[in-house]
C-alpha cells in the first residue's frame, strides 16, 4: 500500500497573535506542524509498521518547511515532496487541492491521509475537495482505521448520530481527527537519520502544471480583525458555601439564567 500524507506548517496557536491594519503581525510568530497533520503522519507510520505500507508526505509551502519535514522523517515517514511555489500565496482550499491532485497523480498511491483541518484556516475542506477532484471515496473526521485486505480499509468516523463504521474501497482519501492516535516523539536515532534524508523540492512547473491550470482562489481574505475577547467577570475566593451561594444569587438575579 502506498500512502500520501498531506502536511501543512501553521502558526502556533498557543502564542499571542497581533493584528495591525487588517493583517497579522509576522513579528514574534512561530510555526509548527499542523496538529491534525501530526496525527495523519502518525497514522501513516503505524500503517507502515503494521502493514508494510510505503509512506510519502507532501507539503505546499516555503523552503522553511524543511524543519517540519525532517521531524516527520524522524517519526518514520520515508519520502517527502515539498511544493515550493511563492505564487501560491493567497491560495484557498480549492487551489491547494488542485496542487495536491497533481502530486497524487505523479505516484500510484492507494490512500491519502490528510488532517481534518488546518489550525491556521480552520477550514476542514482541503482533503474532502481533493477527493472530489480525484473522484475517490472519502471519509472525514476519522477516529480509527484498520486494513481489511489489499483493497479495503475499515474506518470509524465521529458523526452526528454516533460513531459511523465505514468500509472504504481503495484508493481513497481520509481526513483524521486528533482522537485517532497520540503522535510519537521521535527517537534520537530517527532525528539523526532524518538530517541526512533528501527532500524532493518542486515548483508548479516541475510538477507539470501551472497557476492557470490549478486555477484561482474562489474566495480571499480581505481583512483580519481582532476577535472579541471576553472579559473575565467576577471571581470569588473564600468559604465554599458562602461564595457558591453568592454566585447562585448573581446567576439568578443579575444574569437571570434560572428563570
Amino acid at each position: 500500500m502506498k500512502i500520501l500524507t498531506t502536511v501543512k506548517k501553521v502558526v502556533d496557536v498557543e502564542l499571542n497573535i497581533h493584528i495591525e491594519n487588517g493583517a497579522i503581525v509576522e513579528d514574534g510568530l512561530q510555526y509548527v506542524i499542523n496538529a491534525w497533520d501530526e496525527n495523519a503522519v502518525e497514522a501513516a507510520v503505524v500503517l507502515k509498521e503494521n502493514n508494510g505500507a510505503q509512506t510519502t508526505l507532501v507539503s505546499i509551502g516555503g523552503e522553511d518547511n524543511t524543519d517540519m519535514i525532517r521531524k516527520c522523517y524522524a517519526m518514520g515517514i520515508e519520502n517527502a515532496i515539498l511544493i515550493d511555489e511563492p505564487s501560491l500565496a493567497g491560495a484557498d482550499s480549492f487551489v491547494y487541492a488542485r496542487v495536491l491532485q497533481k502530486v497524487y497523480e505523479t505516484g500510484d498511491y492507494d490512500l491519502v491521509i490528510a488532517g481534518k483541518q488546518a489550525q491556521d484556516t480552520d477550514n476542514g475542506q482541503t482533503g474532502i475537495i481533493l477527493s472530489k477532484y480525484l473522484d475517490l471515496p472519502c471519509v472525514s473526521n476519522v477516529i480509527s482505521m484498520e486494513v481489511m485486505d489489499e483493497t479495503h480499509i475499515k474506518v470509524s468516523r465521529l458523526g452526528d448520530g454516533g460513531i459511523e463504521i465505514v468500509e472504504l474501497a481503495l484508493p481513497a482519501v481520509v481526513t483524521v481527527s486528533d482522537s485517532i492516535n497520540e503522535p510519537r516523539l521521535p527517537a534520537m536515532r530517527g532525528i539523526m537519520m532524518a538530517k541526512k534524508k533528501k527532500i524532493e523540492i518542486m515548483d508548479l512547473a516541475k510538477l507539470g502544471t501551472s497557476l492557470d491550470e490549478v486555477g484561482g482562489a474562489k474566495s480571499q481574505i480581505v481583512e483580519f480583525m481582532k476577535s472579541k475577547t471576553r472579559q473575565g467577570g467576577q471571581k470569588f475566593e473564600g468559604d465554599a458555601a458562602e461564595i457558591t451561594t453568592r454566585v447562585v444569587d448573581l446567576l439568578a438575579n443579575e444574569a437571570k439564567v434560572f428563570i
Binding site: 480549492f94 477550514n123 475537495i129 452526528d160 465505514v166 482562489a217 481574505i221 476577535s227 471571581k235
Partner: protein, 319 residues
C-alpha cells in the same frame, strides 16, 4: 432576488433549531428561501420545514438514506441547489454539514466558507465573517464565485417569529448508494441524553473531576437543571465521556444561555467551542486557570465541595 437554500438539520426524525435560525437570517437578507431535507421517514416534517421559514421544500426520503452517507447526501443537495438555482447554500455546523459542504462546493464550482458568523450582500458581492486560528482572529472574506456554500457557526443567527413560509414540496430523485464507501453501522450515542446543540444550559466536566465518581457528581447537577452534559477532551480521552460530548474546536460548538465549566482549565481549543455562550460560570481550584479569563462568574474552589452546594442552592432558588 437572492436565493438561499438551507439544508435541514434533522436528528432522529426531529428538526433541529438551527434550521429555523438559518432560514430566519435568509429572510432577513430579503432572500427567497428553500430547504433541502434528506433522510428516511422525514416526509411528515414538510409542515415544520415550511413553518421554520422555507417557501419550497426539496425532500429526499428513502430507506437508502437512513444511514448517513456523504456522497449520496451531497448529490441530493447539489440536485436541490440546481433546481432552485441557489446563490447560497447554507448548512448548520454539524459533522454532517462539515463533510458534505466541501463536496457540494466542489461539484458546483462554488466557494466554501466554514463556521461563518455573518454574511453580507452588496449587489452580487457576498462577504462573510468567520473566526480562524482557534478563534484568535476574525476574517472578513470576499467570495469570488457566483455561488457560496457556507457552514454557519452555532449561535450565529437567531430564529425570529413570524417567518413562516409556505408548503411546496418537491421530491428529489434518490441517488445510487456509494459502493466505494459503504456505511456498515452507526454505534449510537446514549440516546435520551439532551443534545448539546439544543440545550439552553450546558454543564461541562473536565479533568479536575478525576474519575467516574467525579463525573457522576457533575452529571447530577446537569440532570437537576435538565442541562446538556458536555466535556473537555481530557475526559473523553480518559474514557469517562462519549466522543460526542466533547466541547471545543474538534468537538461541539455550543452557545447556550449558560455554560458551566467544572474542573476545566480553559485551553484555547476548549474556549473555541464555548465562548459564544451568553453567560459563563467556571469552577476551578486554581485561581490562575485561564478559564476565569472568559468566565462572567468564577468560583475558586474544590469542585467536590462546590458542586453539592451549587445543587442545593439552585434547588432553593428554583423552588
Amino acid at each position: 432576488m437572492v436565493k438561499i437554500l438551507v439544508i435541514a438539520d434533522i436528528k432522529e426524525g426531529v428538526l433541529k433549531g438551527s434550521t429555523a435560525e438559518l432560514l430566519s437570517k435568509a429572510k432577513e437578507l430579503g432572500a427567497q428561501t428553500a430547504v433541502a431535507a434528506i433522510g428516511y421517514g422525514i416526509e411528515p416534517l414538510a409542515q415544520a420545514l415550511a413553518d421554520a421559514g422555507s417557501d419550497t421544500q426539496y425532500i429526499a426520503d428513502d430507506s437508502s438514506l437512513e444511514l448517513f452517507s456523504p456522497g449520496p447526501y451531497a448529490d441530493c443537495v447539489v440536485q436541490a441547489a440546481k433546481l432552485f438555482e441557489a446563490d447560497m447554500i447554507w448548512f448548520g455546523f454539524s459533522e454532517t454539514g462539515k463533510t458534505v459542504a466541501p463536496r457540494v462546493a466542489a461539484s458546483l464550482d462554488a466557494a466554501c466558507a466554514t463556521e461563518i458568523t455573518d454574511v453580507t450582500l452588496e449587489g452580487e458581492q457576498i462577504q462573510v465573517i468567520r473566526p480562524a486560528i482557534a478563534g484568535k482572529v476574525i476574517q472578513r472574506i470576499k467570495v469570488n464565485t457566483k455561488i457560496l456554500v457556507a457552514l454557519v457557526r452555532a449561535g450565529a443567527f437567531e430564529a425570529s417569529s413570524g417567518m413562516a413560509g409556505t408548503q411546496n414540496v418537491l421530491p428529489l430523485s434518490i441517488p445510487a448508494p456509494d459502493l466505494r464507501a459503504v456505511i456498515k453501522e452507526i454505534v449510537l450515542d446514549a440516546s435520551g441524553d439532551i443534545d448539546l446543540a439544543d440545550a439552553d444550559i450546558v454543564i461541562s466536566v473536565g479533568r479536575g473531576a478525576k474519575d467516574q465518581a467525579g463525573v457522576d457528581l457533575v452529571k447530577d447537577l446537569a440532570m437537576d437543571l435538565a442541562a446538556g452534559f458536555g466535556s473537555s477532551r481530557a475526559m473523553v480521552d480518559g474514557g469517562f465521556m462519549a466522543h460526542n460530548k466533547q466541547v471545543g474546536q474538534t468537538g461541539k460548538i455550543v452557545a447556550p444561555s449558560l455554560y458551566v465549566a467544572i474542573g476545566i482549565s480553559g485551553a484555547i481549543q476548549h474556549l473555541a467551542g464555548m465562548t459564544g455562550s451568553k453567560t459563563i460560570l467556571a469552577v476551578n481550584k486554581d485561581p490562575e486557570a485561564p478559564i476565569f479569563n472568559v468566565a462572567d462568574y468564577g468560583i475558586v474552589g474544590d469542585l467536590f465541595e462546590v458542586v453539592p452546594i451549587l445543587r442545593e442552592e439552585i434547588k432553593k432558588i428554583r423552588a
